[in-house]
Symmetry: D4
Subunit: 240 residues, 8 copies
Amino acid sequence: MHDGKDRPPLGSELGFATVDHDRARRCGFPEVVFCQGKTPDDAATIAVEILTRADRVLLTRADAAHAKAVLARVPHARFHERARCITVAPSTHTASRGLVAVVAAGTADLPVADEAAVTLEIAGHRVERFTDVGVAGLHRLLAKVDAIRAANAIVAVAGMEGALPSVLAGLVDKPVIAVPTSVGYGASFGGLAALLAMLNSCAAGIAVVNIDNGFGAGYMAALINLRTTPTDDHPKRETR
Amino acid sequence: MHDGKDRPPLGSELGFATVDHDRARRCGFPEVVFCQGKTPDDAATIAVEILTRADRVLLTRADAAHAKAVLARVPHARFHERARCITVAPSTHTASRGLVAVVAAGTADLPVADEAAVTLEIAGHRVERFTDVGVAGLHRLLAKVDAIRAANAIVAVAGMEGALPSVLAGLVDKPVIAVPTSVGYGASFGGLAALLAMLNSCAAGIAVVNIDNGFGAGYMAALINLRTTPTDDHPKRETR
Amino acid sequence: MHDGKDRPPLGSELGFATVDHDRARRCGFPEVVFCQGKTPDDAATIAVEILTRADRVLLTRADAAHAKAVLARVPHARFHERARCITVAPSTHTASRGLVAVVAAGTADLPVADEAAVTLEIAGHRVERFTDVGVAGLHRLLAKVDAIRAANAIVAVAGMEGALPSVLAGLVDKPVIAVPTSVGYGASFGGLAALLAMLNSCAAGIAVVNIDNGFGAGYMAALINLRTTPTDDHPKRETR
Amino acid sequence: MHDGKDRPPLGSELGFATVDHDRARRCGFPEVVFCQGKTPDDAATIAVEILTRADRVLLTRADAAHAKAVLARVPHARFHERARCITVAPSTHTASRGLVAVVAAGTADLPVADEAAVTLEIAGHRVERFTDVGVAGLHRLLAKVDAIRAANAIVAVAGMEGALPSVLAGLVDKPVIAVPTSVGYGASFGGLAALLAMLNSCAAGIAVVNIDNGFGAGYMAALINLRTTPTDDHPKRETR
Amino acid sequence: MHDGKDRPPLGSELGFATVDHDRARRCGFPEVVFCQGKTPDDAATIAVEILTRADRVLLTRADAAHAKAVLARVPHARFHERARCITVAPSTHTASRGLVAVVAAGTADLPVADEAAVTLEIAGHRVERFTDVGVAGLHRLLAKVDAIRAANAIVAVAGMEGALPSVLAGLVDKPVIAVPTSVGYGASFGGLAALLAMLNSCAAGIAVVNIDNGFGAGYMAALINLRTTPTDDHPKRETR
Amino acid sequence: MHDGKDRPPLGSELGFATVDHDRARRCGFPEVVFCQGKTPDDAATIAVEILTRADRVLLTRADAAHAKAVLARVPHARFHERARCITVAPSTHTASRGLVAVVAAGTADLPVADEAAVTLEIAGHRVERFTDVGVAGLHRLLAKVDAIRAANAIVAVAGMEGALPSVLAGLVDKPVIAVPTSVGYGASFGGLAALLAMLNSCAAGIAVVNIDNGFGAGYMAALINLRTTPTDDHPKRETR
Amino acid sequence: MHDGKDRPPLGSELGFATVDHDRARRCGFPEVVFCQGKTPDDAATIAVEILTRADRVLLTRADAAHAKAVLARVPHARFHERARCITVAPSTHTASRGLVAVVAAGTADLPVADEAAVTLEIAGHRVERFTDVGVAGLHRLLAKVDAIRAANAIVAVAGMEGALPSVLAGLVDKPVIAVPTSVGYGASFGGLAALLAMLNSCAAGIAVVNIDNGFGAGYMAALINLRTTPTDDHPKRETR
Amino acid sequence: MHDGKDRPPLGSELGFATVDHDRARRCGFPEVVFCQGKTPDDAATIAVEILTRADRVLLTRADAAHAKAVLARVPHARFHERARCITVAPSTHTASRGLVAVVAAGTADLPVADEAAVTLEIAGHRVERFTDVGVAGLHRLLAKVDAIRAANAIVAVAGMEGALPSVLAGLVDKPVIAVPTSVGYGASFGGLAALLAMLNSCAAGIAVVNIDNGFGAGYMAALINLRTTPTDDHPKRETR
């Protein structure tokens, strides 16, 4: 059995958490801190610890208190309020990789879409956002299809009946990461309706992440985009 | 068994069922026999009893054995195999009322769509069928939208992710009766995914019937169409 | 953000939402703003934008803060507190179309029934309300059946065991739009019990909308009523 | 196998089952054999063992094979095919206790209603059956209400939307034992819809047994009826 | 068809509710007001209206505010805090009918058990309470079985695994009304676990009411007890 | 990262399965073959392969065809029909370890209980079976409690309301492995009711395995029993 | 039948609860008070009553108010905040029994893991904690496997996808008590996802307790550990 | 709005289905025929129609009858029995695109894994299969990790507790398409347990398709792989 003896220490032991500095190298992505259920202090301490060896970090499901605690110790951190994310990156950080489209069915789906977009941008991927293109107003969506088709991967975010990914996947030939949201009421059962709809899509080229999991969708799109041969020539834009 | 002798007859007492001859007058629709769980003989006996006072009858969820039993006693009955329906109507029967569109997402949804169509036709409503217009091939659906829009009411039948009614309701201004079907597998859970999607549609102008309930959708569309002011001039077609 | 500049305007771009001025023409209904999850300011801004091109608007799922924000900018708006709706309409607005019955099983179902009624009235449909006619006190319902039967369409609202639409549909020959409500406790599971009961009704002529979706039921009833040949001569009543 | 020799016999040890001869005395009801999952031989052996010390026995969920095996060894047994029950009782057995009403919404609910009725009759209770009185044809039910009201307890059997017990309980002042059946399709989910409806009834005076559990309802009604002061004077009828 | 023409007015119209003064006569039980979702003022107004024609009333799911509003107008009302009930009864009211046992598995189940007990007492039934007799401490339950057996009907209240009614029904020969409670956590899913256990009991003589529905269980037990031939001679106790 | 280079081959590669000869040493249990979904030939081939290096093997979920195929190649194999198991063991095999009690609520639970017992015996554990001790006949269970208490671990098997483990755990001080079975109907939902009841037990000292998973329960009890200090002196019995 | 006559009084009657002083002797574990739903005063009163006859007590699901009330009356009590437990034990209390491993997948699972650990320690079992060893960072877990393997029993706590027990059970040969937690979001449905995963583990040697039930897991592990022959020589550690 | 006027005919109208010859060009994938629910004749006719304009086609969910019908008309078709697929491709077809790993937890998951592999190969992608690497035998999986890591995308197929994708995603830095299978029993609820586990994975880089949807996973992996910059130099292998 593997004993782990001949390897460098697994990470920094903080008492309440073990920070895995090796992750960025192993999985091609900055370390991420899931703030929900963590005190602002704990979240900030973990972030600082990570930054001793890395130049960037992403904190998700963060509220204003988490942001305040992190900003007190890392002044160049940035709080993305609607996305509930905090990012720390070098000032020279650019999103220079190929384009990913983040498409949201309705305005209520924007927090989840933003979480996906922030996740992609901190990892250096260019993101184009498309909003309010739900299937009940099909002309809005059709007007944007050509632009969406230009991306290497598509994150499609929708609550309620969750039909957006199915319609999109029938119109484009790029992988669609579908994110059901808990937007809805009654028999949406907290996003279950949208989740089931996306899993049962009659269109191929769709895979689904957990309800409201914008981070997971962004991460997946980043992995896909990482090695994709560029097929477009949009100008690069800065982000932090 | 309670005999109820001292009251006016409520209908014909067959021992195993009470036939309600008053229903056609009260609800504007021929008497209907739900065959599932009834023996062929029972179904045929009820049909014959109904025909002693009415000129037409609809039998739903009928199989070949039911059809054989009914045809033996009512030679001019007609078995609609895919719709699993048997109809009996006068030879002069025409579908002369305003148009109802019956739209099916995929070929696997056709039995349910057919049940809706047969239900409408036996009640005298004109029906136009649209097939294989699922949302994954949006151009097929868009090519038919103008024709669908001409109907007074729309029955939209879909399994899997059940997105068709949402897309349709965003494109037309007529009431959409949505019918989820049990077509699908895995997390469709026997049509639950489509049902939830339809109930949670982001588009207004949709109401839903039970999974695979083509009859219920046809009946509802018939009630809607019954008093609708004609707005089109399609040629009438005969049916039986 | 995608700017779409090289295409004809799809509507007004507000940054956080795209207003669809064409909807009223396309679907026969005023533009609607779903307030839940929107800030009072955003809701008011969208309402004002709509009113630059339309003479009326309906805001649903609105609370007192939404009402205050809208009234500050549109003084002739009206807040329907129990229905959680805000309506804006010209002073000359009359509900002159054919009659729709809105029937509520219990007093706890009234907010949902009111949402349906307000939705119908803003679109110009006459509404008659029937309350506290649950199936456990059948004589109350039977006493009102003749009046309900006079309507062109019926919105039936019920929580708990959700039996009202089944009973109604057996008594009248008009389409019944069933609205399950989340009224109940224990094994009502937030309205699931009523929803399932309505979907499984032994009576035909029923179609169902989402739990607590009074707006959806009103909208559907409006579409049905829109083209219905008038069959009654009730005096018209004003609404705003 | 544990032999328990140093204790008084708990019943007869058959190897595969322990017969409890004391049950009739302790719970006021004959011993019952649940045949589902038992071989015909095992069921017959248990029945014979019971009859060594008792004069009657009830076998439920029995099929034709069970019936054949029992009749081979107990010629005066009786197979109630639709009820899926076998009864053995002395030839002098009469159903002389107060009246119980067994009410079935539709013909498809009859097997479950019959199981309840047979259960009551073998225990000596008088039963009156009412059939095809579903809530979609309310006039049929209202025509029978006075007769139903005469019973000491009511077993109300319904599938689909399961509304019958709610309506009944609002009309009578006797305890209603509600039995949901698996009759239905689609979103009835094997009787779940009816079960939830009955549990959430807006009427008081209802308690519910398991889906398709006609025996359980009959047993419960028997316990209620056992000590009820007679309030009617119907002529007694024989049964076996 | 029932036309309702030849009967006295159906009740008092309060605008927001129709009071049914005929109910006590029709169903053998005082009028009941379900306070949840009603304002304190509305609840008090309904109670006062009822008391214009009746000498007693029961209000369930009442909180302190409801109690305050009722007591301000009906000083001799009584607030049962744990049972969340308010009762009004004449000072001469005695619980003189036969005995009902109300058995609670754990102390957390007491509010529901109390609601059942208060419901029974306001209707004149004698109640004996048994507490903390869950199946994990079987000796406590066995020590009380003889006392429980003396009742005409048993209300058995339990959350968590809901096994109490099964064990009780195997020990006594009286009807058991089982009440699942939402007591529990995790996979109890708000009382669903207890509900399913009670519905699937291997013991006969059990029927189930909705989760936490102490009132429904008390009402059912009252109907059963109403006409039961007395079989015991416990001293009568007063209640109000 | 672990490369596996410095270790002996991981097992025999059969093409369709990799046999893990190291498992018995690593986990203290013979290799097990899950036959469901495997052809008789494949199951037999795997068993023979295992026996090239081990002296015993257990095959679960085996039917008669699996048994025939194995017996053809391993004549001293034994088919336990009701347990759906095949065992191969040396003729000198004895069940000499401490005692485990396998308790089944009803006769219909015996196949699952047998699977647990066979699993224990092939691993050398002594097993005592207790049958037909469901909670509805509590006296049968109480009569056996002292004998059950003598075991080091208890496997408690029950379907329907699944109360047996709760009652047992309150009576003994040994770990109870609870096995819900799919025995039941209606709202048992394939064993879900029993599963939830066991998970929500008010008694401590219970842990639960999957529905019908007799093997899993036996395996768990074996692990517990393996190192338990003997506390009894029952005579050892042979098994094969 | 058990009559309870020849035994000492069943416990102290506190009016709102019956304290069972016999439990420690009967089940090998100190009396436990479940605080959820109990007032601080009631919890403290029960604890004091228990301490009149026992030298230790465990209170679970306690909040700060419960702790304050108990400490006011039992100054040497100890509040374990994260575990939500209060313990009272003699100052000489040592955890001297064999080792149990309590393994938590993530930091968010620690409250549940702590409840298990405190439960074990108050009963005298030595506990070793392992944290942040979720399956997504397998190297962390593999580095700790040898230490985990040294325990007699393993409590494995995990939310989200709940895979930890499956992986652990494949690596060690000791019984694994799996505790799903409600940690997660979206389609975790309050821990249901982890619960189902653990019940369906492809590894044997796992049994599952209720969601978040750290106490139940600790209790079960204590029962297993109680009679296990020591196989290790870790130094004993004190606890209180 | 899209009017469809200026485009070539939408496909061939077969009466029962509309073949979409444009799909391969639009979505980068051959046309696919879902055979389930189609007669062998219909499936073969559609395949032949497709082959009039394309050089390859994939038929999924095909049984032996479908295969026979297709082979009769297209002799160079190939039936992949375990994958339930039929493929038609030119004899010169090679799988020359970058590598995709298809990893199956157990042998019972192979049909679904095969469907994914066949889907990939017909579209020209190289596939490497890894079998029997479930998490309960972690060493088997670890031995294969380096080989899996060489792929551009990973399809991970697992039933039961569905932990494989979580463990894999923690070990590699490539996108993982997770496919839950219906392999399991009891509380696997037809694959629901595995589905929920995969959606709730604690590891990032996973997206999920429907239960048993090997085709969907293969299609998604193909889209990802299509534009991926080659990073390996495995020898190409032929397929048909």
